[in-house]
Subunit: 332 residues, 2 copies
């Protein structure tokens, strides 16, 4: 039985959609445990009562320090103390990261945890990381991200030998900013990674590689740009279509196809983002998550527990990669 | 009569599509002048004979130094020496930048020229800069980009008081990497700019502002990601549609609407990117430009000459903004 701690107060549509999603995800093997106020109607799920709440727009570090009994921090603590196997929140992602730093701590030698998002690319899923845990990064962080992404793709996506690429502004090794030029050299020298060189962003949704690494600023810009562009293109197409009678009839006929596509590309379908590099499993769901999205995020977390993603990361991050970032880690 | 120097050998589809585009753009007020080999069939347009050619994959600085009589370098030189009013090339953009540095030089006080691309956003055109001239940037460069983009939007897009936003990973001023945090402070302090704060990439295609500034790495990633995502979404939709008979009939009916959308979002429609911050007008067209795209790029260049974009930039970049970057400029 996998116990998933769920922050019932996190997200734009909490608590109703979160509780509904938890109920939907509950199964013989997955047991969601809700963290939230005593008044919450849990539909029969286990509740851990908490007295505080972190809002979407609070400053992460302050909020986490100031609200130790918030649903978010308490849910993370449950994982840190072994009372749950994973934590899921659709709340303030920055605060979730801060809470995980505090309550779960980093894996030994990992300089920076990363947010790994699975993009539903045309040729199959692509793990994009860092999708926004750290705005600034150093080349050795990108190397760690590559290892973490590879282990994740092996364990969670069942890719035997994941191909890794570096997001840059040209496929040639000499194209990029200072960070990617240096990261490219580190990645190319790592012979236990299947590094296939740079990829340009234009291929990201078509399918660039199993794992694509970049700094968190670039990854976050890329992820949100992809989401926004998909939404805008489909909206504009709809507007063009309904502008004529001929179009409106055609629109009715293609509706099932358009729905299929929209749901495949919908962030809710893939549910959530893993925070990798911590001593426990954490999944951040979209702030605007529906019950469907919350349920998927809980299942994603359970799958990570089942496949022991955290244990595999500990075993498989090479010693020299950890060592290269250790001095920095130890001083923090 | 506006004379536009056209690099007839630049681009994947040169020289045929380039010459055809130049012929299409020729008018009573616009006179394209082709630069290329003596054997070129120019269809009656003026030809300046050159003996060398720069390939798409050559290293920019070396190529430009080593091939002073290439069609690209000669076309840029014509503008530098006053024999043409603007230059257009669909060739190697890096080489074009290097040739412009050499033959046109930077405007006094401009630290870094920037590539400005007009995105066909839903709410109207958005100038995105830097779209890739410099992979790395400093905060004061982003401030210069904001002024250059504003002048461009006023002169070429007829926006009276252009709203400027900074591309970042959250709308709050404290969200971003080190570069955007510092750039935000500079932009917010510039009271002669209409700075409206940060924008997230998810709004870029819907319409975020008249001018969006970022470093060249981020801008290039964003631009290519948008192009690739639009293409992939429309492709995937087509595949979903033709998978059923019902869909195929609907597909025929919506075809005009889909074509309208595709052409509005097609990079060929907006034609080219301005290189801003030089002592002459330069427009880089897409490497894969069709005759239509080349013609649009030539018209875009002519429009820039008509509106005296270079002169306006010289007059309107505030002295203190130029001074802040001058020490760096002078040592180069």
């Amino acid at each position: 039985m996998i116990r998933v701690a769920v922050d019932a107060l996190g997200g734009d549509r909490a608590p109703d959609e979160v509780v509904a999603g938890a109920l939907e995800a509950a199964s013989e093997s997955v047991q969601p445990v809700l963290f939230g106020s005593a008044r919450l109607d849990t539909g029969g799920l286990e509740l851990v009562e908490t007295t505080q709440e972190i809002e979407m727009d609070e400053k992460p570090a302050e909020a986490v320090r100031g609200k130790p009994d918030s649903s978010l921090v308490a849910a993370c603590r449950a994982v840190g103390e072994g009372r749950a196997d994973a934590v899921v929140s659709a709340g303030n992602t920055g605060a979730m990261l801060a809470a995980c730093f505090l309550e779960l701590r980093r894996l030994p030698g990992v300089a920076r945890p990363a947010i790994a998002v699975v993009i539903p690319a045309k040729r199959g899923p692509t793990v994009l990381l860092d999708s926004g845990a750290n705005a600034d990064a150093r080349p050795e962080h990108l190397l760690q991200f590559a290892y973490m992404g590879s282990v994740f793709a092996q364990e969670v996506l069942d890719v035997r030998q994941p191909e890794v690429r570096l997001l840059s502004i040209g496929e040639e090794p000499e194209k990029g900013d200072q960070l990617t030029l240096e990261a490219h050299a580190l990645l190319a020298a790592a012979d236990d990674l299947s590094f296939a060189g740079n990829t340009e962003s234009r291929d990201l949704l078509a399918g660039a590689a199993d794992v694509v690494v970049c700094d968190g600023f670039t990854g976050n810009v890329a992820l949100k740009l992809m989401e926004g562009t998909i939404r805008t293109v489909l909206e504009e197409l709809r507007e063009e279509i309904v502008a004529t009678r001929r179009g409106r009839i055609g629109g009715l006929l293609i509706r099932p196809a358009a729905r299929g596509l929209r749901s495949r590309l919908d962030p809710d379908t893939y549910g959530g983002a893993y925070l990798l590099g911590l001593r426990g499993l954490a999944v951040a769901a979209h702030g605007n998550s529906s019950r469907q999205a919350v349920a998927n995020a809980i299942r994603l977390a359970a799958r990570g527990v089942e496949h022991d993603v955290v244990g595999r990361l500990t075993q498989r991050l090479p010693e020299r990669v950890l060592a290269s970032a250790r001095s920095e880690t130890d001083t923090k």
